[in-house]
């Protein structure tokens, strides 16, 4: 049997004001990050409903990362503070249900941190790749 390396699908929710611009900057500076990362732009990290995260896994994501402005820098003053609590609770719950904790992450990336964006994504993809396919939170109907 030939072992081919599993290519993970990563969904990154990026806030419009910082992280999405950060991703843009990474691109402009020709900093690499894996093409397996699919970015979904959201107005603010707190726009990410827990349902979005679960739906991403359902539709085939192997890892979900949420990127927002650094605490204190939210375009809407406090959105990322709320997101921080919500996602902490959600990810802790996923962990509690036995979903590998490395599949979820929250990272603060500013518009000036193209390098951090690229490094974060590289690191995240690497960790998720190691875990292999998302088996514990998959919807088989979407995998046919």
């Amino acid at each position: 049997m030939q072992i081919t390396e599993h290519k993970p699908l990563i969904v990154a929710f990026c806030c419009n004001w910082c992280s999405y611009a950060g991703a843009d900057l990474a691109g402009n500076n020709r900093l690499n990050y894996p093409a397996d990362v699919k970015i979904i732009r959201v107005p603010c990290s707190c726009r990410v409903n827990p349902m979005f995260v679960l739906r991403a896994f359902q539709k085939g994501a192997d890892g979900v990362i949420i990127c927002g402005c650094h605490p204190g820098d939210c375009h809407y003053t406090s959105g990322n503070y709320y997101a921080r609590r919500r996602m902490a609770m959600l990810f802790s719950m996923l962990d509690y249900l036995g979903i590998e904790r490395e599949r979820t992450r929250v990272e603060w990336v500013s518009a000036a941190e193209g390098a951090k964006f690229s490094a974060t994504m590289n690191d995240f993809v690497e960790k998720v790749t190691k875990l292999g396919k998302n088996k514990r939170l998959e919807d088989l109907r979407c995998k046919k």
Partner: protein, 342 residues
């Protein structure tokens, strides 16, 4: 009639499982009975009945109907029906066996439901008489005798033996299959067992539940009864009663977009749900009272009206023990049925 000793029952299961899938009630971790696919070491549950009814063998909670592939403006319909495998359900109680007849009346009348029909065709139902009916049982109100369960094969358990009698062609085949593991016998022992059961039945607290006030043609008398308001006043509107019910057969058809196509599936639905009859321009059953009334009127009036007097309830007692607020068909029947006696 054939019999075997209880100690041989596992070898019978083994024999059946060699040929087909065998499902039977076994005790689960919660200490309740649940239908499971038999495997080595599984013991037939001693419990009176399972929490979930065996209707899911014929009418699964979720069942894919077909798939669609779309490209541009075009649609391709894919018939995903496949040939079903044969299966045996062992240890079905008299009430649940009767519930299959009720489901048949719905799904097998024209136009026949091919999904249900194919499950029905491939399933052999082995019933088992209830040696210890419980206080929540009221099957006798609907003319069901727990000592004489129907199905393809009827079985009785005595202290040391199990007896089998075929009722249908499928049943004969089953008896043939276990011929070498059983021996021919007369029905003396079974008769004794039946007597024991009917003695218990007479003593049950719900033994005298009357259906006199219900049945086809009673819509006008019962529909506007003031009792519906108070009976339904604390109903939560959950689907517990409908989903544990062996005869509830309402379903919804829904589409699921997998990203690569669309799966159209049907799933159990409940008339207790607020969106059951919700349309874009309104809902004809707007309050829980109307939805509650629908469930019981359907079982006690509408269904018998359309099916020669057969009630849509078999008295299995599941709703009595599972409703989170202990509202159930017995309370409804007593309240509405007792009305004119006062």
């Amino acid at each position: 009639m054939r019999k075997c000793s209880l100690s041989a029952i596992n070898s019978i299961f083994e024999e059946i499982a060699k040929n087909t899938m065998l499902f039977l009630p076994v005790d689960n971790k919660d200490g309740k009975a649940e239908y499971k696919k038999w495997q080595e070491g599984f013991l037939l549950s001693e419990k009176l009945n399972t929490v979930k009814s065996p209707k899911e063998f014929l009418f699964p909670q979720t069942e894919n109907l077909m798939e669609f592939k779309t490209s541009g403006k075009n649609i391709e319909i894919i018939d995903t029906r496949t040939a079903k495998e044969d299966f045996v359900v062992f240890g079905v109680r008299a009430c649940d066996a009767k519930a299959f007849d009720i489901l048949d009346k719905v799904f097998l009348t024209e136009p026949r439901d091919s999904y249900y029909a194919s499950c029905r065709e491939h399933g052999t139902i082995i019933t088992l008489a209830c040696n210890k009916p419980s206080e929540t049982c009221f099957c006798s109100a609907f003319g069901i005798d727990p000592a004489n369960p129907m199905g393809d094969v009827s079985a009785w358990k005595t202290e040391n033996e199990m007896f089998f009698e075929a009722n249908t062609e499928k049943g004969e085949k089953f008896i043939e299959l276990i011929k070498n593991l059983t021996e021919k016998t007369d029905n003396k022992e079974v008769k004794k067992q039946k007597e024991k059961i009917s003695n218990i039945m007479k003593k049950l607290p719900l033994a005298n539940l009357s259906t006199e006030k219900f049945g086809g043609g009673k819509t006008k008398e019962l529909f506007d009864a003031p009792e519906w308001a108070e009976l339904s006043s604390t109903c939560l509107g959950c689907g517990t009663c409908t989903f544990v019910c062996p005869t509830c057969q309402c379903y919804d058809i829904k589409d699921f977009n997998t990203g690569k196509g669309v799966i159209r599936f049907r799933c159990w639905d409940s008339c207790m749900y607020s969106n059951f009859t919700l349309m874009a321009h309104g809902n004809n059953r707007n309050s829980q009272k109307e939805r509650f009334r629908q469930r019981f009127m359907h079982k006690l009036v509408y269904f018998p009206e359309n099916n020669d007097g057969t009630f849509g309830c078999v008295g299995c007692g599941r709703c009595l023990s599972r409703c989170p607020i202990s509202m159930n068909i017995v309370k409804v029947m007593k309240k509405l049925g007792g009305k004119t006696n006062d």
